[in-house]
């Protein structure tokens, strides 16, 4: 009982930032390739930092929410987020041991994979005949540029929470 309450308390930090990132995604940015997916970056951070709290299940659920928000076919974002998170867990040791620059470079590949998979799914369904590659390259690059900033912001927040709990 005590353990579950404790776990809930440690979960609120990641969950709050994830919901915040989702709301950031909900702003009326418009439909252009220049809009990055803030939720994907935040999910990537938490899966890397604390895979015991934020795992593939939360990635899947947030993906479904994102599908409803973008009125995409249900499951497209879910699959993309799950795959991205899996790649991060798979490469966890490399990512955590790398310098910030090296880590950002690996993350570029992760984001490229994520955006490629989302276009691939649309193409398989038959919605992607006219998709331009701008939607593969531009969001991936912007998300990669945002990665160090998000690390700074989110790890500050994490240390803040830890400080208050101890």
């Amino acid at each position: 009982m005590v353990f579950s309450i404790f776990k809930l308390r440690t979960l609120t930090g990641p969950l709050l930032t994830l919901i915040g990132a989702f709301i950031l995604n909900m702003f009326p940015w418009g439909n252009s390739p220049w809009v990055p997916d803030f939720l994907l970056i935040t999910l990537a951070f938490w899966v890397l930092q604390s895979p015991d709290k934020i795992n593939l299940l939360s990635a899947f659920l947030f993906g479904l929410l994102m599908d409803i928000q973008t009125s995409q076919f249900l499951g497209v974002h879910a699959i993309v987020y799950v795959l991205a998170c899996f790649v991060i867990i798979y490469q966890q040791r490399r990512l955590l041991n790398a310098t910030l620059l090296g880590q950002t470079f690996i993350m570029l590949q992760v984001f490229l994979i994520a955006n490629f998979v989302s276009l691939l799914i649309l193409w398989i369904i038959g919605q992607g005949r006219e998709i331009s590659f701008a939607f593969l390259i531009i969001p991936s690059v912007i998300e990669t540029c945002l990665w160090p900033i998000f690390i700074k912001l989110l790890s500050n927040r994490e240390s803040f929470i830890n400080h208050h709990q101890s």
Partner: protein
């Protein structure tokens, strides 16, 4: 730089979980795409998200308001003059239209055609356009509670913008003319040639298909709705022909068109609450065919 050690250090990657979620995701996509079985989930989710979406679209509205507020006197005066002259013009046209309408209804009675239903419209506002690489959609702040139904046309004062494709309780989703596979039956205003206009995809010009290579078409011809399918009321401007390519490589002419209404720069639109009152009888059930069949049987 990270203080906490990785917790899943010797657990390895969760291949089984990945497989499970990929399978589940594929099943859900299939259920949505082929069986349309997930509309309930979408409805519930959308009801949850809608208040936030509407709240987040407020800053844009606020900036619009403040811009309106700080308009200068001279510009207001100029606008007023323009509008009053426009109003005079419109009044004149309205008088003419009244005469024409009465004449028209009289003629229709003579021809014993069914009266055309007048179209009511509902003012609406765009909340946002969802991010998607494959489609061009807008979310509008009117839904089934306001009487909006799937399939109703969306228009601005200039012409058709698109069509409602999905309805929620307080909001609805509209596809723009540019959306891929968007089709709208049109006729050329100048000579009444009928055809179908298709959306090709993001940013590309619309395409007029199923037209003879030698058809009488010119760059600059206006296309209006023909009203044949019963989804769109007849006579609303849709597009202008911008380029005609009659090269012999293609079996037919490739005709590019530009939508008349500005598709992406509208905050305020109107949904035409148009429900077709007339339905064409199927050819096998028409009186003429039945009579002929009877005659054949008799002979």
């Amino acid at each position: 730089m990270f203080r906490s050690p990785p917790t899943l250090f010797n657990q390895g990657a969760p291949f089984l979980k990945l497989f499970f979620f990929l399978l589940l995701g594929s099943v859900i996509i299939f259920a949505d795409y082929k069986l349309h079985a997930t509309e309930k989930i979408r409805l519930v989710g959308n009801n949850l998200l809608f208040p936030i979406q509407q709240l987040l679209s407020q800053p844009g509205k606020l900036s619009d308001l403040s811009l309106d507020y700080f308009q200068t006197r001279s510009s207001l005066k100029q606008q007023l003059e323009e509008q009053s002259s426009q109003l005079d013009n419109l009044r004149l046209m309205a008088n003419q239209a009244e005469v024409l309408e009465s004449e028209n209804s009289h003629l229709r009675k003579l021809l014993s055609l069914q009266q055309k239903s007048s179209v009511k419209s509902l003012a609406a506002e765009v909340i946002f356009s969802p991010l998607s690489p494959s489609s061009q959609r807008v979310i509008i702040n009117r839904g089934s509670a306001d009487g909006v139904k799937s399939g109703m046309p969306i228009a601005s004062e200039a012409g058709i913008i698109g069509q409602i494709v999905r309805v929620f309780e307080n909001s609805s989703e509209g596809a723009l003319l540019e959306d891929r596979d968007f089709a709208i039956p049109v006729l050329v205003e100048r000579n009444g040639l009928r055809s179908v206009l298709f959306g090709v995809g993001r940013g590309d010009p619309l395409e007029l298909r199923y037209v003879n290579n030698l058809a009488d078409l010119d760059v600059g011809d206006h296309l209006i709705t023909s009203g044949i399918d019963g989804t769109y009321p007849a006579g609303i401007p849709v597009a202008i022909i911008s380029k005609i390519d009659r090269s012999s490589e293609n079996s037919g002419a490739v005709i590019a068109c530009k939508p008349i209404a500005q598709l992406h720069h509208h905050r305020h639109l109107s949904i035409l609450l148009y429900e077709p009152t007339t339905s064409a009888p199927s050819p096998t059930e028409s009186e003429v065919v039945k009579n002929r069949l009877r005659q054949k049987k008799g002979s």
